[in-house]
């Protein structure tokens, strides 16, 4: 039923897909293919022309396209094959044989099916749109997601507006506040529903403060005026339940409204495949190998959970690529019967910690050090980030400040976990848990 057979198909040629491809190739997988829907590799980095990328990975400050280029060159040097302008339209698998079927189409080959032994999901994310926010008012031209505006300005050299109000303080919105200003628009205000910003602190300083753009926390949009093109918007303060407070409305005349109200992992294909999802991240639930509930299917990058820094995406994708290679080379997966199920440790996130990636850990399969990433659900000052194995404290990290906009991480040690798991099993604990929580200072 397939037109081609491959070992590994990587869906998405952005930073996650590229790094995963490079890692898999370096680990010996040569029968692989990266499928990219856009005409160019690099994904959203291509429109991120500002600098600040790569401080962790390359110890230097690159622009988005430069960062992408490093990985494009790397994968090209490794001889990784790509298909661009190609859209994956269906994804399924055969539970008996474990084969995955990737249906895609492009102008050259029409509709075709690839049978793959392993798949890496690297489709990225999209922005939350106005409709999902249920913002009342008219529906004129001039309302853009921050990323769409970024495409117009940075790729097409066109201005989507002259006088701008930005709703939401996600990183793309902050970056666009600065970009629009530099390109000659007037950015009047950034309104954020929450009492804290959704973006990185450094972006607030460099993109708003440096340009005297006011950030109004605990504010939301209550009306959009303009029948053909945006003429103005009304912003109001919100109470602790995030409901607008009557009497606090302020009208801003503007021709453009940019929305930067959160990113959503783009998991349509994962859902078609039947991957088990996290209701918190909107991404797949994965184990320490970044393997989803379907054996041989891995996820990495923003399709798994939304990251702040592309450096972390690359690191995560590298892990997914190496583990996919190991899978193809016959390593055990969670569905292999000779792996003891009881060694799967669930990571429980409570008291301010919203989720973790990975969600489960099998000590036998982890590397010596495993980075676990997560976000907190509120702004916390002078608290402790505590990690427990069952009731035993593993670490207590004092934190001056934690915020939802900044991803947190802890590092688990294989040796320690193996010891603890063994001890727990001996004590009759069948499903040991690691707990990550925010605590008061002792």
């Amino acid at each position: 039923m397939s037109d081609r057979k491959l070992d590994l198909v990587i869906i998405g040629g952005g930073p996650a897909g590229l790094a995963a491809a490079a890692a898999a190739s370096e680990a010996g997988v040569k029968d692989l293919l990266v499928i990219e829907r856009d005409r160019k590799l690099g994904g959203i980095l291509n429109q991120c022309i500002h600098n600040g990328f790569g401080l962790h990975t390359f110890k230097e400050e690159l622009t988005g396209p430069e960062y992408a280029d490093r990985y494009i060159k790397k994968t090209q040097a490794l001889g990784v094959p790509f298909l661009t302008d190609t859209m994956v339209v269906d994804l399924s698998w055969d539970q008996e044989t474990g084969a995955k079927f990737v249906t895609a189409m492009n102008k050259e080959s029409g509709l075709f099916v690839i049978e793959a032994k392993a798949v890496i999901l690297a489709m990225g994310c999209r922005e939350r749109a106005r409709g999902a926010l249920n913002i009342p008012g008219y529906r004129p031209a001039g309302i853009y997601s921050a990323g769409t505006a970024q495409y117009y300005v940075n790729i097409e050299g066109r201005m989507p507006g002259k006088e701008v109000v930005i709703l939401g303080s996600g990183d793309i919105g902050l970056i666009m506040a600065r970009r629009m200003t530099l390109e000659g628009a007037k950015v009047k205000v950034v309104a954020e529903l929450m009492p804290y910003s959704g973006g990185l602190k450094r972006n607030i300083v460099q993109c708003l403060n440096d340009f005297d753009i006011p950030l109004k926390l605990s504010h939301t949009l209550v009306d959009i005026k303009g029948k053909k093109r945006v003429e103005g918007v009304t912003i109001a303060q919100v109470d602790e339940n995030r409901k607008p407070i009557p009497g606090t409305e302020e009208y801003y005349s503007c021709d453009t409204l940019l929305l930067s109200c959160g990113l959503i992992p783009e998991n349509e294909l994962s859902l078609m495949l039947g991957v088990e999802m996290s209701p918190v991240t909107g991404g797949a639930l994965v184990n320490e190998s970044l393997e989803t509930s379907i054996p041989g299917v891995y996820a990495c990058g923003n399709v798994l959970h939304v990251h702040d820094l592309v450096d972390y995406v690359s690191g995560e994708a590298d892990t997914a690529g190496r583990n996919a290679a190991a899978f193809l080379q016959g390593a055990q997966t969670q569905n292999d019967t000779n792996v003891k199920k009881e060694t799967e440790i669930k990571i429980r996130t409570v008291d301010g910690v919203r989720y973790s990636v990975p969600a489960t850990v099998r000590p036998e399969h982890m590397s010596d050090m495993l980075t676990v990433r997560f976000r907190v659900g509120n702004e916390y000052r002078d608290k402790v980030l505590a990690v427990y194995f069952e009731d035993e404290p593993l670490m207590k990290l004092p934190k001056r400040i934690m915020a939802p906009g900044e991803m947190e991480q802890i590092i688990l040690q294989k040796k320690k976990l193996e010891e603890l798991a063994e001890k727990a099993l001996a004590a009759g604990v069948s499903a040991p848990q690691i707990t990550i929580r925010v605590e008061e200072k002792a």
Binding site: L111, G131, P136, E183, K227, E268
Partner: protein
Amino acid sequence: MYDIIIIGAGVTGSAIARELSKRKRKILVLEKESDICEGTSKANSGIAHSGYDAAPGSLKAKLNIRGSRMMEQLSKELDFPYKRNGSLVLCFDEADRGKLEDLLERGRKNGVEGLRIVEREELKSLEPGVSDRAVAALYAPTGGIVCPFGLTYALAENAAVNGVEFQLNTKVETIEKTQEGYRIRTSRGEFVTRFVINAAGVYAADLHNQVCEKKLRITPRKGEYCLMDKQVGGLVTHTLFQLPTALGKGILVTPTVHGNLLTGPTALDVEDPEDVSTTAAGLSEVLTKAAMSVGNLPNKPITSFSGLRAHEAGGDFVIGQAPDAPGFIDAAGIESPGLTCAPAIGEYVAQLLQELDPAPEKEGFIATRKGIPSMALATPEEKDALIREDPAYAHVICRCELVTEGEILNAIRRPLGATTLDGIKRRTRAGMGRCQAGFCSPKTVAILARELGVDESEITKSGDGSQFITGKDKENV
């Protein structure tokens, strides 16, 4: 000199145009907006009502029954999405059972087939998604859902193919009686015609009252809607109405023909005939009331919108020659169930015209029309065939709804083709998905500019004044 000028290219005007195009006549449709289907026709419930609601003997009742019976056949001839999914009017209180009986009685008088009351148990098995609060329901198996855009475009395109002229971006300013008919002054010149058909929706009274002493009074009645993601489109399979309760007139919860879940509308009389804004209060009312009909209303909105019904003070459609203005024919006050009635209104007006001014049948009338193929709905074999015909059908532009360049080009190049982003959206669904055109709008704008031979800065959302691009980078630095 035209034989007939139709004012308004909504579903009513388009249906009339299509029906009239079966006979030898010179016909023009004038539309103030940049596209057809830009007023009430684009923002409504998309329901093909079975016909139990209107007062027996009214035009609404008569045309509803006829329209409902025509819809399926018409959907095959003109290739637009329609589905007979059946509807249920939910009763939440034993005390209201009388109202349900009244509705059943009214429906039977109107001639609705298969109507019956279903009790809780049967209701639950018919519609497992229904809320436990519903005690009984009126079941109308002939109720259906239809794509309001699809229906309007199908009618208008078919009329155009059969020789009807359409002039868009042309706002009628004044109408005056002449010796031979009427002189219509517009934003784009003057037209003379023997007959005028007034299908101007919320503006129909303004036109009518220029030539007739028996005045019409039309109030725009706003209805707000909330459209949910396809992920939850399968929550219900029937269209769920509510009996009016102490909270007022109920709202509906329905799957759409495209698989979304639609809830709404509110009903609020407004003054401004262009006020299609949504309000926090309206959207909250929609969601609160919708939650009565279904056990668990998911919070998965992808967009909200509002539309205006043209409510005439008399409560019924006003269709026919104005009493003191020979040759001036109204199709006014077309509120719900106007969408369902449209094909029947077309027939009715054509019949009237034939009585007033007989014309011979046109040879070679083209009765069928083929819509834009949908890659999202096509089978693998159909997809293959389309791509072989034109590789542009393999180039995905809108990833959420899987709409390709091939479909967008088809929408632009067909009769009365799209010239705006909204026009593309309503014809192909590009931009109608969960990202609401975030990714595809720049690409669609580029395709439109290329096809229309204009700069991207001239491309609009919905006609002049709604341009997307305001200039070039650094122009104002």
